[in-house]
Structure formats: C-alpha cells, structure tokens
C-alpha cells in the first residue's frame, strides 16, 4: 500500500542517478513507525478496485424457477431429477438450491445456477410459462431481474424528446425533371449491385455496392440483404432508411402500399432473441417496429406466404382447409377466427378491391368451385361450380375489371396407386366481369396445351399462347360488356411468354430457353408487328413501369456465357447492349497493369524468338540440302512459282435444235 510514496521518501534521488550503487543493497520499503497513510486506496487504485470480485457477481448465471410442485422430502429426489432433466438442456447446472419450510416441504420455487449468463438467458427464454403438468406452470426469471424491477424509480420521468431527424425526400426520383427512371443491375452472386438512371443518351450509374437487393413495389425503397437482416435505403443518396434485425433473412415481401415488410429466415438457428417460432416477422417500415411474428410454415409453401389486399388493410395466409385473414394495424385475425374453407387450394386478392378469389378442389361428388369473397363482411359475391378439374390458376387483371380463372380439365381420370393421372386435357378460361351486375361469367375453351396467359394490365384484352411445340399459336381475345370474349387475332410463332406493357396496348412475345431468344414487339391496336429481334438465350424480360422501355437479360444463374442485358424501346428499337462478361462491343482501354504484363511477356518471347531465329539461320544450309537446294524459307517464294491461270468449269448449256 502506498509503496510509491514510501519509496520516494526513503530514496529521494531520481532512480537513474544512483542505479549503480543501489544495485546490490536492498532499499528499505517499510513505513517508519508512526507513519499515517494520508491517501486512500480508492484514490490510488480506483481502476483496479473496480474489477475486484463483488458479492453480486455471477448473479446473472442464476435463474429462479417459480411454480414448481411443493413436495415433501420423500419425493424431493424425484423432483430434482425432473428439474435437472428439463433445465440441463440449456447448459451445465453448477449449483442448485431447493428452499424448504420447517417441515422439509419445498416451497415452490428453486434456484439454479449455470456456468454462464447465456445459458441462463436461454433457459429463461425457453421455459418461462412452460407447463410442467396441469397444475404447474413454470415462471422463470433471471435472478438479476428482481434487482432490476426493485430499482424502478417511484416517479415517472417523461422521456426526453428525440432531436428531429431531417428525412430526405423519399419520392425524389419522381421529381426528376426529365422523368428518367432508375434501374438496378445485379452482377454475379453478390459481386456488385448498381443503380442506374436511365438517362439519355447514356444511362448514369448512381450507386454501386456489393450486395443483393430488390426494389419495393412503389420504388421508394431499395432493400438489401445482409447477414444480420434486411436494410432499406432511400432518398437521393440512398441513405439507410431503416434496418430490420433478422439474421439470415432470405425472403422478403412488401405490402402493396409499402407500410409493412415481411421477412422470413428459414435457416437461421434459434437464438434467445429469435426463437424457433419467430422466423416469419412482419415489420412496420416507417418505425422499424416488429409488428407480429409467426412460426415458420410446417410444409413447403410458395413465397410470399402472406398476400396483402390492395390497401394494406388485410393480409391472408393459406392453410390446410383454412384461410387466415389478418387485419392491420392490430395484426389480429379478422373477427378472431380463420375462415374455414374445406379443400381450398389457392387464392388471390383483387388488385383494386378488398375482394379475394379462391378455388376449392373437386371432392368425390362435390364439384370444384371458384368463389369471390368480399371482406371484411365475408360475403360470397359470386361463385361458380366446375367439373372435371385438375388444376386452376387465378389471374386478376391489373385494373381489377376482370378475373380469369384458367381451368385445366380432364376427360379421363386414372388412379395409379397414389398418383392421379389425368388424360385428355382441355382448358377453360372462365372470365368474370367484375364491374357488371351480378358478375356474369363467360367461358373460352381451348383444346390445345396452354403455354402462357396474360391480361392486358389496362384494357380488356388478353393473350393466350397455345399449341404444342411444333405448332404454337398466339390468340388475342377482346372482352366486351355483356358479351362473350371474342377472338380478335390469331398469330403463329414459336413464343412461350407474353409480356404486356404496364400501360397496355403493346406486347412483347418472347421465347425463353436454351435455344431461345426470339422477340416480337407487337401493337395490339391494329396488330402490326413493330419489330422482330433476337437476344440469344435470354432468360428474363422486364418492362419499365411507364411502359416506355423493355429490358431483356441473360442471367448468369442460367447461363455461363454472354451474360448481359439489352435495353429496347417499346417499339423494339435496340437502345443499348450491356455485356457483363466476355467481349464488350465497345472496347475499353486496357488497364495499365495488363499493358505492363503484356509488355513483359512480349519481351521474354522476343528474346526467345531471337535465339530461335539465329538457330534457324544456322540450319539454312542443311535445309537447302534436304530440299534439293530449293529455297523454301521465304513464304510464297517457292523457287519455281509462276503465274498460273486456273480455269474453272462454270456451266454447260445444251440447246437442242430440231
């Protein structure tokens, strides 16, 4: 204690001066008698003393388990074994204490100590409110919680207001003076992501970062995936807008009005803050709050699991024989119970109304049925029975004016062990006129296999590609008020996808696949073919939201070579070709390192060639000898080369003269 002081006193000279003399003799560090220390330990070694073990240390390893059965000494051992079995799942129990009353009967709560706080936290998370049996429910708390709750101040203090954070304009991109759009290009798997402004004459790159990302439905946010969760970026600088902590989130979906985001991480291991039943989470985008979490679906389902109504008011989830509709902002089940629909197979919300369409599979004597259900009052506004149904697909027109249900029907059904085999397939398109009184339904039947169906997003036409591979046809139908759909045009061509312009009228027909790549740009007002083009091995097509541009792309996931994208005008004029690999059409100037490397290679090679050329010259005499003194060294200088006229027989005509 206070050695420094005493040392100074005994040996007042600076140590360096008398280092030599003091080397042998030990200085006297003892305090002289009657010396009173005038400096406290806290003052001198405050930082060390703070680390001194305290009595309360290790309390965070301790949990209190309340709600245990009260047993006498004769059954204590049994209780102990049960408790140990349950709680040693979370880590090694180093200490346990079963308080008893004067009769030796346990008093209903016990103390368990783990070797570290993580185990304790895990145990609390997992076993709190767990039922042991009918009468007993564990109430598990950390020992430190008692202190925390005991220390809550009596008087409530209002929270200090947070300083106002200036939010950048999220819709800034809509104010672009030239109304340019932006697009996103992902390169490689997580190599780079670029945001481009589709400006004229050349697109401008706005941002680049090495992640994977998607746009929100209205384009306000850009969502990027990270190991720790999902982040949203917005504003002119693409500043971080919100982040959602959800480790290993793989799937996200936005609600249509961008109020909510759903994240799903199917693979992440359960952690105390993200247990197994919280793998599917709905967040509020603006506040970043977790609104509700769900356990992961038991079986494989298609993403998105939740489908939202157009105004974010409802979202629904398909279950076995049940349709669960939830309400926002409460995030509870609508009317506190799911809608029981035995045999429900699929459903889809109308894009403009709070109406959903679902279909129910055929069951012995009960026909299959397509139903339109209005929410929240749950009235069936229309339903239609269908027979011999193998499968149904629900296609809403984007303006909500029409609904088409593509019905795959069969003429023969054969049961092959557990599998059902359909044969003699034919296809019906049931068209629901949503805007007319009582919703009349028309039907279009096609006997050939269907490749694709698509509604005109704005308008009343739809296109069907049908026929087998050798003989494909594209039929365009027009739907009129009070009339059955009429065939307006039939075209042939080997296309297997239809892409309508978001603004309607224009359509791109495309052929995907290994040998595909054909494109046709069509104006459906008068069915003129505006252009026929080709993008070899193309694997995807996107219209820009205004319907002015089309992008065709070859994804590197599909194809290793010639990845890239082309931008076309809606008329099929090629605007730009971008290749991300292989040979670019424009030749970029070489980076300096490459030039240096090549120069080095060329220098080495030239040296080698010089040596070889010298050796070759030396061998000249021998070569001449071998080839009978005809000099064949120089190219084209064959000694006996002479101008030669080569005559070719071109054509023979025989004219027969009588």
């Amino acid at each position: 204690m206070a050695k420094k002081k005493s040392d100074d006193r005994v040996n007042p000279n600076p140590p360096c001066d008398n280092e030599e003399q003091n080397f042998d003799e030990e200085p006297n560090f003892d305090d002289p008698e009657g010396y009173i220390d005038d400096i406290s330990d806290e003052e001198l070694l405050g930082d060390l003393l703070a680390q001194k073990p305290k009595e309360s240390d290790g309390y965070e390893n301790v949990i209190v388990v309340d709600g245990c059965p009260q047993v006498g000494p004769e059954r204590l051992e049994k209780l102990q074994s049960v408790i140990t079995k349950i709680f040693s799942k979370f880590g090694k129990i180093v200490n346990e204490y079963y308080p008893t009353n004067e009769n030796g009967v346990t008093i209903g709560y016990i103390f368990l100590e783990y070797s570290n706080p993580q185990n304790a936290a895990e145990a609390v998370q997992a076993t709190n409110n767990c039922k042991l049996d009918k009468q007993h429910t564990f109430l598990v708390n950390l020992f430190t919680d008692f202190q925390k709750y005991a220390e809550i101040p009596k008087e409530w203090e209002p929270p200090a207001p947070q300083p106002f954070k200036v939010q950048s304009d999220l819709q800034w991109y809509l104010m672009d003076p030239d109304a340019y759009d932006q697009f996103l290009v992902g390169i490689g798997t997580g190599v780079a992501l670029q945001v481009w402004q589709n400006a004229l004459p050349e697109p401008v790159m706005l941002q680049e970062r090495p992640t994977y990302a998607v746009w929100s439905p209205l384009g306000t946010y850009l969502a990027t995936f990270h190991w720790r969760g999902v982040a949203l970026w917005s504003g002119p600088k693409f500043a971080q807008f919100q982040k959602f902590y959800h480790p290993e989130a793989r799937f996200i979906s936005f609600s249509p009005c961008e109020n909510y985001i759903v994240t799903f991480s199917p693979t992440a291991a359960a952690t105390p803050e993200r247990p197994e039943d919280k793998k599917l989470i709905i967040w509020d985008i603006r506040s970043g709050q977790e609104k509700r979490s769900f356990p992961p679906p038991e079986e494989y389902v298609t993403w998105p699991i939740f489908r939202w109504s157009k105004d974010d008011r409802f979202f629904a989830r398909l279950g076995t024989d049940v349709l669960s509709v939830y309400e926002t902002p409460g995030f509870g089940l609508l009317d506190k119970k799911s809608i029981k629909i035995p045999g429900i197979r699929d459903f889809a919300w109308s894009p403009t109304d709070t109406v959903l369409a679902y279909w129910v599979a055929e069951e012995k004597d009960v026909p299959a049925r397509v139903t339109l259900l209005e929410l929240p009052n749950r009235t069936e506004i229309r339903s239609k029975n269908l027979f011999s149904v193998a499968d149904c697909k629900i296609h809403w027109q984007k303006s909500g004016d029409y609904l088409c249900v593509k019905v795959d029907r069969y003429s023969k059904l054969r049961k092959d062990k557990t599998e059902l085999k359909y044969s003699g397939m034919y296809y019906n398109f049931e068209i629901f006129h949503m805007r007319e009184k009582q919703i009349p339904v028309d039907s279009v039947e096609i006997k050939e296999p269907i490749q694709a169906f698509a509604w005109e997003p704005v308008g009343s036409k739809f296109a069907i590609i049908h026929g087998d591979n050798s003989n494909q046809q594209i039929s365009f139908y027009q739907v009129n008020t009070g009339q059955a759909p009429s065939l307006v045009r039939k075209l042939s061509g080997s296309y297997n996808h239809v892409f309508w312009s978001p603004a309607g009228q224009f359509v791109v027909l495309a052929n995907f696949g290994l040998t595909g790549g054909a494109l046709e740009f069509l104006d459906t007002n008068d069915f003129t073919i505006m252009n026929v083009a080709d993008h070899y091995q193309m694997s995807g097509i996107e219209w820009d939201p205004t319907g002015r541009y089309v992008v065709t792309g070859v994804s590197s996931l599909k194809c290793k070579m010639d990845c890239g994208y082309y931008i076309w005008s809606f008329q099929g004029k090629i605007l730009r070709r971008v290749m991300k690999e292989g040979f670019a059409h424009t030749r970029p100037s070489c980076p300096q390192e490459l030039v240096a490397k090549r120069t080095e290679q060329m220098k080495k090679y030239s040296e080698y060639r010089e040596a070889r050329a010298a050796a070759w010259a030396e061998q000249r005499a021998r070569r001449l000898e071998l080839r009978g003194y005809v000099d064949t060294d120089a190219r084209g200088a064959a000694g006996d080369a002479v101008e030669e006229t080569v005559e070719f027989f071109v054509k023979e005509e025989v004219t027969v003269i009588d």
């Binding site: 290994l514 040998t515 070899y536 091995q537 070579m561 010639d562 100037s589 070489c590 490459l594 030039v595 240096a596 090549r598 120069t599 290679q601 060329m602 220098k603 090679y605 080698y608 070889r612 050329a613 050796a615 070759w616 061998q619 021998r622 070569r623 071998l626 080839r627 064949t632 190219r635 084209g636 064959a638 080369a641 080569v646 070719f648």
Partner: protein, 329 residues
Amino acid sequence: MKPLMLQGHERAITQIKYNREGDLLFSAAKDSKPNVWWSLNGERLGTFNGHGGVVWCLDVDWQTINLITGGGDSSCRLWDLETGKNIATIKTNSSVRTCNFSFSAYQAAYTTDKAMGHPCEVFIIDTRTIDDSISTAAPILKWEITDSKVTSMIWGTLDETIITGHEAGDLIQWDLRTGKKIHSVKEHAQQINDMQLSRDGSMFITASKDQTAKLFDTSTLELLKEYKTERPVNSAALSPILDHVVLGGGQDAMEVTTTSTRQGKFDARFFHLVFEEEFGRVKGHFGPINSLAFHPDGRSYASGGEDGYVRVQSFDQAYFDYTFDYNRE
C-alpha cells in the same frame, strides 16, 4: 466474308491440311475417301479412292507430289497427286493413327494403334523413290511404344527427330539415328489430339482433351505458353504471319446431340500467341471442330468438323487491324 462450305464427305472430318503453296486443301474423314479441293474457291479437285474404312490422317510432301494417308483399314497408302492413283499400300497390323512426311520428304513416319493384340508401333520408311516396292519393303526403323499409345506425331527439326504425343498426355522426342528417347515431358493431363508446327518449325502447338492447348519449343520440348478453354481441344494451329493461334474443339462426339449448336461450344477460338488472351471467335460448325489449318499466307483458315463440313474462312480487314495494347520498344 462468307465462308466456303466444302461438302464432300459423308462423315466426320478427321484431318485437314494445306499444301505448302496453299492452293490445295486436303481433307480426310471417317468415310473412306480423302478429298482434295481448290482452296481458292472451294471446288473439289478429286478424291482418293482405295481405303476401306476411316481415314485418320494424311500429309502432303513439300513439293505437292505425293500424299500419304493412314486409316482404320490397317493400311498406310501413298498417292500420286497428279493422277490421284494409289501408288503403294503398306499393310499394318492395326489402324494407322498418324502419318507424316519429313522435312525433305525423303522419309515418312507413321504410327499404329495398340489393338487386336498388336502393340503401338512407330515406323520410319524411305520415300525417296515411291513405287509399288514400298508396299513390301521393310521400314528403315521401327520401334514399339510400350506405355500409352501415340495419338499424334510430328517431325522435329530437320530430319533428325520425331515428336510423339500420347494418350496419357506425354510428349516424347525420339532420335531417329538410334531410335531412343531424347526428351520426355508430361505437361498435359489427358490425350494429345493434335500437334502442329510453326512455320519455321521451331515451335509447335499441342491440342489436348484436358481443355488446354500448349506451345512448346521443338528442340527442347520446353513449355512456352498455355491457352485455356472450357472444353476439350481437338486441334490448334499457329498463324504463319501473326502472333495468333486458333483453337477448335467441343464435346466428345457422343455428347454432341445433347448440346445446342448455339451454345458456342463449337466455335473456333482465336488467342494471342504471347499474351494467351482470347480475342475472337468464329462460329459455324454444328459439331465439334476436329481439325484446323491456317492457309500458308495467313489470310484464311480452314476447319473440319464432326458435322462433316470443311469451312474455309477468310479474314476480314478488321482481323488484321486488331492490335493488343502493350509497350513496343
């Protein structure tokens, strides 16, 4: 420019070669009749009838007087080019895989397959006077190859050595005075499909099933350069005028039907000789390319494919204008 399509074979092309002047193009195929064409316009000059099966290899001497062919009918034949007559037929024990005239054409070499209980052998024959007596005359030299069989062969510098490429990827240089190995290297992991000399004979390029082509020094077998692709290389040729090489290949014939022609697997691919960088591709074949040859003037090249076509492609001006950036001294 539009390529010339030479359609004269019924089956896959096995080897094509220009003569030294470049006016004639010779082609051998899996049908039994090698063809000769005018390289200028693609007109067929004639066929060489006599083989009874696949013709694996052919070579023309430097004066364009004689042609040597070897085939699966266990024969090596010599032809008079002026008349197209079969002058001599040397019977062998198994298929003749490779055959070549020496630099002087005073000698020729051929190798046979290890098959039907016979070993793989190399033969050197005297071709100073070519007449029917060759058919029965004993070879000047012959030796057995005990390990993996010879799949390609070229003559080395002057008439002193030959170099053989093997099924296991080895390259061996043999001294013809003694019949002994001088050098042996193993730079390839799989079969060497083709070897072609540079114009002055000081270097040669190998094409291997291990998806690479490599450039070697003829006298030392030193590895100089490597050209990598993503598919087996069946043939590689060196440009006589520029520092360019062309590589051709594709999948094995048995896998071809499962592949689309438009997947670019059957392109002829151009690399810079020194920088080992690819700078161009020519498509056209709908089967793997089996043999490639540059015209001696370097202004066109020919390719023969599994599809049975020979394509003669002239280079556009853009090919000659294309240069690589590097500091010239």
